[in-house]
């Protein structure tokens, strides 16, 4: 038998393999660029550099939020050749068990990834990646550890920056930052484990701006993630960019002073610059030192205590507490009455105490006096005219129409709704309308007499102190307001466009002067309810309120603006359980106004009385 032909089989086989391999190589290397991209993914690592967060200044250029350098102790498991757990634990002042626990914690904290194709769940944890083992060590702390780190391969220090609040005030305005969780990372791929993000206040609202721009360095790395060289000579690298400087409308000195005044009291102070809508100060008392929530260690040490504190220091009262406004509401009622024409400036109502209780005061023969004396029966009758204008024969239908119109007026004052602002966490307050009462009493089952408490700012009406301050600002502006907001400018750009838009109320400017005159008298004339706010050199226009509180002592409230001509500051002070509005809220407002306008306080007796007052312990 001759088997020579079999050499053809073998040669064909070899040649076929040769041809197939050549084509395959041509496809892989020349045609298909999947592998090139994959190679880039593998070897050309992005190294991200997180810039320090943006620095924040107050309106006078004082640094309110800055950054300080801290150190993280980074751990890369792949580099750990050996680890003397006991010695390491001793170095960082932990127990060996805690060290072991920490390793597990890091691994678990990375979460798991479910691959739907292979139907397998894998850990996100990567041995070659550096994870913070200890976070946020001070220079002193790292200085003790760093010299010994060469005995512990796989550990190295890395600088990081953290927030610092030189003034220790404004916690509820500024908010705090905390480490991102898995969900945050999934929602926004910008974040990497260990990054921080704003959790409340300005830090949260302006997160996208304040975080800046991460820099990216492309480097060729080895399988152990060691950098070998810059990729393409650094052609594609970008530099980390810190956020531009942020300037707030806040006056941090005023804020600090106000927080001092509010010590041992529960309540709020909100001050707005009427001509710009910038929030000058926003105090929530009691508050906390913002430095308490800097960094993971501080947060885990202090946050639980703060959240458990029955005085709720974390709760931003000025924008999230909804209180009945009390008598300050009469200002708005007056304006609506004038605009609707149900009264004129010289309309008087008898102080009929059978309608609603009142204190003793002269006859309110005009609107100025009504404001000055804060006459309850006057406003009962005024509001009745607004609600029951007689547009419909049926009293119930008439009330429905009247109340809805009234609610529309209120909304134009920014009440009963959240302000579209950079102030996060606002509550809308409550301005009841026909639908609201229909739910309670049924359609056409109610009229003014049913809902009369709203005429004096009690009952179903509720405002936030921010809204109260905004009422003062609106009156100071005679009918319009800029949406109250925190941020004055970011770098070279001014306030956001929506803060530059004037919001007009439904009340014309001509109706304001009599109300302002009434407010002037409240502070400056005998028979006014806020005589304690009077100052010899500054004309303050204000209105007190005493909010009935079914749970305890009345709340003391005062809103004001000053000076009367060309107002610079509009303010609302709300002190819980402090009693009559004129005795606590008004003097605090006057001190704040003086401090803001003159930079100092002259009446030290008034100041001392406030500082010494313990009002929060009152039932």
């Amino acid at each position: 038998m001759n088997f020579d032909s079999r050499k053809i089989v073998i040669i064909t086989f070899i040649a076929t393999i040769g041809v197939i391999y050549t084509f395959r190589l041509f496809y892989m290397q020349v045609i298909d660029d999947t592998w090139t991209l994959r190679a880039q993914e593998i070897a050309e690592k992005r190294h991200e550099i997180t810039p320090p967060r943006g620095v924040i200044f107050d309106r006078n250029g004082r640094k309110v939020v800055s950054n300080e350098t801290y150190y993280n102790l980074m751990m890369t498991e792949a580099d750990i050749t050996h680890l003397d757990t006991v010695a390491f634990a001793k170095l960082i002042g932990w127990t060996p068990e805690k060290v072991k626990q920490r390793f597990i914690e890091i691994r678990v904290g990375e979460g798991k990834f479910y691959n739907k194709y292979s139907n397998k769940t894998t850990s996100n944890y990567q041995k070659v990646r550096a994870y913070p083992f200890l976070k946020e060590l001070t220079l002193e702390e790292i200085a003790e550890i760093a010299p010994h780190l060469e005995d512990f391969p796989g550990f190295k220090e890395e600088p990081t920056s953290m927030r610092k609040y030189p003034y220790k005030s404004g916690a509820n305005i500024l908010g705090y930052i905390a480490e991102v969780n898995r969900e945050d990372i999934v929602n926004d791929r910008y974040y990497r484990p260990g990054d921080n993000m704003g959790r409340s206040g300005i830090e949260r609202f302006y997160e996208l701006q304040l975080r800046g721009q991460k820099g990216v360095k492309y480097i060729v790395t080895s399988a152990l993630n060691n950098a070998i060289e810059a990729f393409a000579g650094g052609k594609y690298d970008t530099i980390a960019k810190q956020s531009e400087v942020m300037k707030l409308g806040l006056d941090v000195v005023l804020q600090t002073y106000g927080e001092q005044l509010m010590q041992n009291k529960k309540g709020c102070v909100v001050a707005i610059e009427p001509s710009s809508g910038e929030v000058l100060t926003m105090i929530s008392a009691p508050s906390y030192d913002p430095n308490l929530l800097v960094g993971k260690r501080n947060i885990s040490d202090n946050y639980p205590a703060l959240i458990r504190d029955e005085n709720k220091p974390l709760f931003p009262r000025p924008l999230a507490s909804e209180y009945p406004p009390g008598s300050i509401f009469k200002l708005v009622q007056s304006l609506i009455g004038l605009q609707e024409g149900v009264i004129d400036v010289n309309t008087g109502f008898p102080c009929n105490k059978s309608l609603v209780g009142c204190h003793n005061h002269p006859y309110p023969s005009d609107i100025m006096k009504a404001v000055q004396f804060s006459c309850n029966p006057y406003y009962y009758q005024l509001t009745k005219r607004i609600i029951q204008e007689g547009k419909k024969p049926n009293v119930f239908a008439d009330a429905e129409v009247g109340l809805n119109l009234w609610a529309k007026y209120m909304h134009s004052f920014g009440l009963g709704q959240k302000l579209d602002s950079d102030i996060t966490g606002q509550r809308p307050g409550r301005i009841p309308d026909a639908d609201y009462y229909d739910k309670w009493y049924g359609h056409h089952q109610w009229a003014f007499s049913t809902i009369r408490s709203i005429s004096i700012g009690q009952g179903e009406v509720a405002l936030t102190p921010l809204q109260m301050a905004n009422i003062a600002a609106i009156i100071a502006n005679k009918g319009w307001f800029y949406t109250p907001h925190f941020v004055k400018s970011l770098g070279n750009s001014g306030p956001l466009p929506e803060f530059k838009k004037k919001n007009y109320t439904m009340v014309e400017a001509k109706h304001f002067p009599p109300i302002i005159e009434g407010m002037r008298r409240v502070v400056n004339e005998s028979g006014g309810t806020a005589r304690m706010a009077r100052m010899s050199d500054i004309v303050i226009c204000g209105k007190t309120g005493t909010v009935e509180n079914p749970h305890g002592k009345d709340h003391s409230v005062f809103i004001a603006f000053a000076p009367k001509d060309n107002p610079k500051i509009a303010i609302a002070v709300f002190i819980e359980n402090a009693g009559f509005g004129g005795s606590w809220a008004a003097p605090i407002a006057s001190l704040m106004i003086e401090k803001y306008l003159k930079g100092k306080v002259t009446d030290s007796i008034k100041e001392k009385r406030i500082l010494d007052a313990h009002l929060s312990s009152m039932p």
Binding site: L25, M28, W35, R38, A39
Partner: protein, 464 residues
């Protein structure tokens, strides 16, 4: 008789040059891959390239020795050489395991891999044995002995274990095939034991290489299909994949029978039916058992097969090596990243493991791109064809068998090694001949080749 000193004229220069080209390209790649700026000299013996220079030197010296020794000695001492390499294979089993295999026979800091040298012994004995039994390739004893020569070292290699070299030993089947060895004597003994069957020959025993292709093909298809289920467009029906394979085989058998019966007489029809039925039964048995055997594989070997067949995807886990290797090769582009420019497969970056031994094709392909890959594949093709040309021009059957053995061993290494770098073949660690770093492979392949060159240079001196 020609004069002894004319030896240089009788050397097959094309083969020797292709050998030297591959060795140089290999050394160049090892130097680039393992390059350490602190030890820049290629003769720095503390580095892998320094050692490779040394191994090349040793190999060339061994080649010279081979040329100085009269070629008849290999035939005379085929049995002792074979037994010596076998004894090394036995000895190595008592060595401590490195990476889970008893593959290294250590002499101080140096070690050799006896499995590499066993190929030489087996090739020499097989050619020597088969050339002795003039034209008795169709007898049971010849079949048994020639297969035993291959199977004994294979058995010892299983014990190490070393899957790569084990596979390489199947290359000797091609040699047997070329020489016309038939397994018919064995098969007929079995088939004719059944009453009524009187085969004179079977296609199976004679054409075992095409059969092997068919079996491999069938196995791959079965593995791919058997993991799925078929519903045949009927909701709620789930037919296991293996049933689908059997149905396909049945249809194929029916088709073949129809074609055969059209052009045959009545008697031949009956025979065709028998053959088709037998073929179907054997195929079905293979298909059924391949699944069963697949489950019996070690889990990492199983996974590797699954990766190549695309049944599983785990680029950062079990399929790491192959995936990284492919990324390195594929990212080379047309002209490559330049010498010492491998960003994935250099030892410094270490993304591709074993990049100076089993995966040495990666740095080469990454640095030289498709142009380099084409040169390398062409050089190998040239060498392999040259070896076949040399084998075919021998008057002596002994020389021819040995030539084919060398050619097929090198071809196997080439096909499997490159195949695993481009994702065609599961990852089994075998070196690329003359290219990969390593003393044992360099020396053993060089000896294999130089013996062939020596035999070829004396081809006119022998008569049978």
């Amino acid at each position: 008789m020609r004069k002894e000193n004319n030896i240089t004229q009788d050397i097959d220069w094309p083969l020797l040059v292709s050998y030297l080209v591959l060795v140089s390209m290999g050394l160049m790649t090892v130097y680039s891959t393992a390059f350490d700026p602190e030890h820049p000299s290629i003769f720095d013996f503390s580095m892998k390239y320094g050692k490779q220079v040394m191994w090349i030197g040793v190999s060339l010296f061994l080649g010279l020795l081979v040329f100085l020794i009269d070629s008849s000695i290999y035939r005379k001492f085929a049995v002792p050489i074979y037994l010596f390499t076998l004894s090394l294979l036995v000895l190595v089993l008592f060595m401590p395991a490195i990476n889970g295999a008893h593959a290294w026979l250590g002499f101080g800091s140096f070690g050799i891999q006896p499995a590499e040298f066993a190929k030489i012994g087996t090739a020499l004995l097989l050619s020597s044995y088969l050339s002795n039994v003039n034209m008795h390739l169709q007898n049971v004893k010849t079949v048994l002995i020639s297969n035993a020569i291959i199977l004994v070292p294979m058995a010892l290699i299983i014990l190490q274990p070393d899957a790569g070299t084990l596979v390489v030993f199947t290359s000797f089947l091609f040699v047997l095939y070329r020489e016309g060895l038939s397994y018919d004597p064995l098969i007929l003994k079995i088939t004719n034991a059944f009453p009524g069957i009187r085969f004179k020959q079977t296609w199976l025993g004679t054409h075992f290489i095409p059969i092997m292709f068919y079996v491999v093909f069938l196995c791959v298809i079965t593995l791919l299909v058997s993991v799925n289920t078929f519903s045949f467009y009927m909701p709620g029906v789930a037919v296991p994949g293996i049933v689908g394979v059997l149905i396909a085989l049945l249809l194929l058998a029916a088709l073949i029978y129809l074609l055969l019966s059209r052009m045959s007489s009545r008697r031949e029809k009956r025979r065709a039916l028998l053959v088709v039925i037998l073929g179907f039964v054997l195929s079905a048995i293979i298909a059924l058992s391949v699944n069963f055997m697949f489950q019996g594989l070690a889990s990492h070997q199983k996974a590797r097969i699954e990766f190549v067949l695309g049944m599983k995807d785990d680029p950062n886990g079990g399929d790491y090596n192959r995936f990284r290797a492919m990324a390195a090769v594929g990212s080379g582009g047309f002209t490559g990243k330049g010498y010492k420019g491998a960003s994935l497969s250099s030892v410094r970056s270490n993304h591709v493991p074993e990049s100076e031994t089993d995966f040495i094709f990666c740095p080469f392909a990454e640095e030289w791109g498709f142009v380099g890959s084409l040169i390398l594949v062409s050089t190998y093709m040239f060498m392999l064809f040259r070896i076949i040309v040399i084998a075919e021009r021998q008057r002596s059957r002994y020389y021819r068998i040995y030539g084919y053995a060398v050619g097929m061993i090198l071809f196997y290494h080439f096909a499997i090694n490159i195949g695993m770098n481009i994702g065609f073949v599961p990852v089994i660690g075998i070196p690329l001949p003359f290219f990969s770093y390593g003393g044992s492979s360099m020396m053993s392949f060089s000896i294999l080749l130089f013996v062939l060159l020596k035999l070829d240079s004396q081809r006119r001196d022998v008569l049978y």
